[in-house]
């Protein structure tokens, strides 16, 4: 008798994400579907708007990563209006962006992904959350996390006016210069950030790497997919969040493509499935073979581990040392272990902090020349940045007056859409045999996609806490046979 499991993630992704797992006659997993039941249509209501308002419109896609959309949109406007920002403006943008990456990556590790490791994947579910982390690591450390978050967000507010939906980006520059006393303050925040990021890696070391059970979990097959990877690199092939070329590597780690933002349509295409509002991008030059991994499938992954896989290293010394240590432990590059996204995220947070410090220590950043007024007639512009959750693409077309006539957005998590479905299916397969569902399934499935720090349609992004799942096992008539809930 065929069975069906509905995993309805009713917290954190409430109403915005749903998993359906179908079992075959033997009770093994036949197929899993991950559905995103939401859409808001930003591409469409951007049409008719003045292009320069896009950095204020598109952050509303996501209130957790508004800085990402703001900066990406601003870069698309530079391209659209064919105007180069003065050096100080570029530094200001990257400084603000580095503060954001540092804050966001740590938020994920301590509040979201961390509990599975710090408290433990098999710990009582009631403790597997931020409160459990605090209980384990102590209030003093929790205080450090809160302080880091607040300080980084104050830096963004200082520059962007507001941290939730900043407003400072303009084509060809920024709206407000940085004062010298503010620069000095930011140096202090960045120094604290570097220290904190090293400390977070130390926690990862102590908690995960010194525990054989966890290391086995990270290296095991349940959380492994051999896919292509995509991420942005600078001219030396080092990870860069703000600017550079997009590089793609094969599952063996060889460079498959390297392209400028303006060429993305030659490389990426998106599939539509009738059962989800989210689209499924794939590598055009490999082809869509469905939800499978391997060299012949165009499925690729983005976000921290992907970025580290595509790059030849990190541009700052402390992060570079951590990068080398990570790949040595994982057995070389590229690493296909989905749970290693957590580790890569912390290496990136250290890079963000070091980069933030470099930029804040650059006295040129207070240069009041922060705007070049565009003079060209706008027509088309494309901007790409690396969001915490992967490559983000904004593509606008306008009439000669700079009024948007077309907008295409490929949002970070969407790049991982197919891989997330596959990861969920694989974790379920590893756990569900003969129709028996264990309590552990709930968290194991959760861990399979939590590693991506998913931000579905950027509208349903996850925040502090954990996702509760209820699993219903139904027979082919739809009658509930068994319900397992994690309280």
């Amino acid at each position: 008798m065929k069975k069906r499991i509905t995993i309805d993630p009713i917290t954190r992704l409430e109403g915005h994400g749903k998993i359906e797992i179908f079992l075959d006659d033997r009770g093994d997993v036949e197929k899993a579907y991950f559905q995103v039941p939401e859409l808001r249509g930003f591409e469409v209501f951007s049409v008719g708007r003045p292009a320069e308002e896009m950095p204020r419109i598109t952050p509303k896609i996501c209130g957790v990563c508004p800085t990402t959309h703001h900066i990406c949109s601003t870069k698309a406007l530079d391209d659209l209006f064919k105007v180069e920002p003065p050096p100080a403006a570029k530094k200001l943008r990257e400084l603000m962006y580095s503060a954001f990456m540092l804050e966001d990556h740590n938020l994920h590790f301590f509040f979201l992904g961390g509990p599975d490791f710090v408290v433990g994947p098999s710990a009582p579910p009631a403790e597997r959350n931020i409160l459990g982390v605090i209980a384990k690591v102590g209030l003093e450390i929790a205080g450090k996390v809160i302080k880091l978050r607040r300080e980084c967000r104050d830096v963004i507010t200082l520059m962007g006016g507001r941290v939730i939906h900043p407003v400072c980006g303009l084509p060809g520059g920024m709206s407000k210069p940085l004062a010298e006393d503010d620069r000095l303050k930011i140096v202090g925040v960045a120094k604290n950030g570097v220290e904190f990021a090293q400390f977070a890696l130390k926690i990862f070391d102590d908690v995960v790497l010194k525990n054989k059970e966890y290391v086995d979990l990270v290296l095991g097959d349940t959380y492994k997919h051999t896919t292509y990877y995509m991420g942005m690199v600078d001219k030396n092939n080092k990870v860069n969040f703000y600017d550079g070329d997009v590089r793609v590597v094969t599952p063996e780690g060889k460079e498959f493509a390297r392209f400028r933002p303006g060429e993305y349509l030659n490389h990426i295409a998106e599939r539509v499935e009738p059962w989800s509002y989210m689209k499924f991008p794939y590598l055009k030059n490999v082809g869509w073979k469905g939800f499978v991994d391997g060299k012949d499938s165009g499925v690729y992954r983005v976000a921290p581990l992907a970025r580290l896989n595509v790059a030849d290293g990190m541009a700052t010394p402390l992060a570079q040392a951590e990068y080398e240590r990570m790949f040595t432990t994982l057995g070389g590059k590229p690493a296909h272990n989905t749970l290693a996204f957590h580790w890569a995220r912390l290496v990136e947070a250290l890079y963000a902090a070091e980069r933030m410090l470099e930029l804040a220590q650059d006295k040129g950043i207070t240069d009041p020349h922060i705007r070049n007024i565009p003079t060209a007639i706008p027509d088309e512009g494309i901007g790409i940045v690396e969001a915490p959750r992967g490559t983000l693409i904004h593509h606008y077309k306008t009439d000669k007056n700079g009024i948007i006539t077309e907008a295409n957005l490929i949002v970070a998590t969407v790049n991982n859409a197919a891989a997330i479905c596959m990861s969920i299916e694989k974790a379920a397969r590893g756990l569900i045999k003969g129709g028996k569902v264990s309590d552990g399934l709930l968290n194991m499935v959760e861990m399979a996609f939590r590693a991506y720090d998913p931000c579905f349609a950027c509208a349903t992004h996850t925040l502090p806490g954990k996702m509760a799942l209820s699993v219903q096992i139904r027979n082919s008539n739809g009658d509930i046979m068994q319900t397992i809930s994690r309280e």
Partner: protein, 323 residues
Amino acid sequence: MAKPKVAFYWCASCGGCEEAVVDLAENILKVVEAVEFVLWPVAMDFKIKDVEALQDGEIAVSFINGSIRTREQEHIAKLLRKKSGLVVAFGACAHIGGTPGLANFSNREIIFDYVYQKSPSLDNPNKIFPQEKTTVKEGELTLPKFYNTVFTLDQVIDVDYYLPGCAPPPDLIMNAVEAILTGNLPPKGTVLAPDKSLCDTCKRKITKPEKAVIKQFRRVHEVLLDPEKCFLDQGIICLGPATRDGCGERCINANMPCRGCFGSTSRVEDQGAKFLSALASIIDADSEEEIKKITDSIADPAGIFYFYSLPASMLRRKFRTEL
């Protein structure tokens, strides 16, 4: 005495309102101490069935953010209304529709057509659209209905109070929570923010044009922005005159004009219309022709004047279509 039960829920939103609560920082601990959360998907592990199991009115207050765009969101808003003594529309999207409310210039068909048929990165040879019901070989999959229209929360359920802003600032959130906990509440329907216009407290007020002086409007990217002078005096559209105060002039602090996320004061029915009337008084023209020339220099007036409030406006939406 039992702690009052509180729910915090998101509909069609971006997560920024949840971040705003986390940004209460140390104050969040005070709130957590004083109340009992029964639903807060972003931070806590409660289920809709737990809410369904509550008595009607058992939740003291539900804070709901986001607009209403799908049937599922409408369903949960109605459930929370039934179970709650008070409902607070939290943030611009629940209050006045928010920027995603600009989607009311289009409808479902236009959105689906672009997103799933015309977008340049698509590979959709079989012209597939997401369906409310899909039969796959293993069984049936469902998605909630996507409405033609973006609704404010009070267009779907009865709302007691409004916390404005995109997102609401921490001080107003704390004031609202304290007012509710102490029962020190203003009349039903009140927007929990100062009832005056943004210009009243703006640092640049002194240079605000008092008479007709504007010969031409400019766009923010076209000119260097004077960090001291009123934006309107610079010919830059700033929604300050039509917008409620209370945000702390955060956009102006970044040297960018207001786009109206707080909505209007209680004396104004329609924020865009109010702005239009404010604008009319500062345009310096002698003939109809000249008026037209000046107003033509405003890019996308409908989109800018209703940047946050289209679903709450008298116009509400462009197309007369079914739900």
